[in-house]
Symmetry: C2
Amino acid sequence: MLKETRKQEIVRVAAKLFKKKGFSAVTMRDLAKEMGIKAASLYNHIDSKQAILQEIVIAIAEDFTTGMQSIIASDCSSLEKLEQIIQLHVKIAIENTDGLSALNSDWMHLESKLEYYLKLRQDYESNFRHIIETGIASKEIRTVNPDVLMFSMLSTLRTLYLWIPKKGNVNPKELSASLAQILIKGINI
Amino acid sequence: MLKETRKQEIVRVAAKLFKKKGFSAVTMRDLAKEMGIKAASLYNHIDSKQAILQEIVIAIAEDFTTGMQSIIASDCSSLEKLEQIIQLHVKIAIENTDGLSALNSDWMHLESKLEYYLKLRQDYESNFRHIIETGIASKEIRTVNPDVLMFSMLSTLRTLYLWIPKKGNVNPKELSASLAQILIKGINI
DNA sequence: TTTATAAACTAACAATTGTTAGTTAGAGTT
DNA sequence: AACTCTAACTAACAATTGTTAGTTTATAAA
């Protein structure tokens, strides 16, 4: 990416505002003011407020899907796959802190893209659960309730975007390792 | 509690709507329709939309504060205290699934009660962190980054309200035990 | 029966919302 | 110089927002 287009800039700034107040509480005039222009001028670059949200959320959701597909395609052990999932979340959380807020809190306002988003999320969780179940079956992972384990891991990973900004300059490898120790050490035999 | 007052009913229904669409996206007319009355009639019982949110969030935040104070006052081990924290979150999450959504997602719209809420949250996290640090110092808890551990546990516990409704009839003891195993087994020596 | 209270109603308000139409200023191209 | 394109602008729109004022209705107390 050589230079950010005006549209990309708007989407990026919108994500920042959405994180602070939520999608519904941010007005096009808020966004315009933050961009230093008038609200009407935004429409030279974007179709609607909705479209901004969709652009933000769907892009990230597809990143997760792509990442997960490459993980399940690899021939690693289940524990190694869980570690890769952690790394995937850390990477995306660092790269897209603001956007993840919209994905986590404002997805219900996606309207025409809602169904597609829910499909991506459901598939992601299915893959995640399958990795855990395989790990339990192969005695790599202690016998636990797969749903509770997935819920616990996903809660932590999905909330990373809230904590990362509080630290300055997070090292992805280091954070992934800390998380892997805490999330995985307790479950392997 | 013998009988729910009309005001309590409004607050309860509001919390349910806030969970579905977020505070900002719910209008007083939405709320009134759900109550089967007109929007103006709501104001016979409540002062403002803001006040509803404050009522919801502050009550829960104070529940957490009270619970934490009784935990730190007890003379249990650090690991036992962590277990009690898990039980506290499970209990509140089961009793107040809808309200927790507002607390987690809409606290930034608290306005006049915002400062107070942030103080409660900050104190809660301080107490939590202190329990972890004490546990590490006393060799009860493996040497980990206290902040990462607290973040991980709190992320899971704070997100319980999203998962509990998906299961039917959750048993608090059972869920607490599953969580304790997953969250704590991995960190004790 | 009269009176008081609770809780609903209708009607309206000023402000704010997302968005559109039409216009203008400037930069590069022909 | 004339033209095109981009990206800003002003002005306005219809709809929706939280909220208020004043009124009506039903229930219970006096």
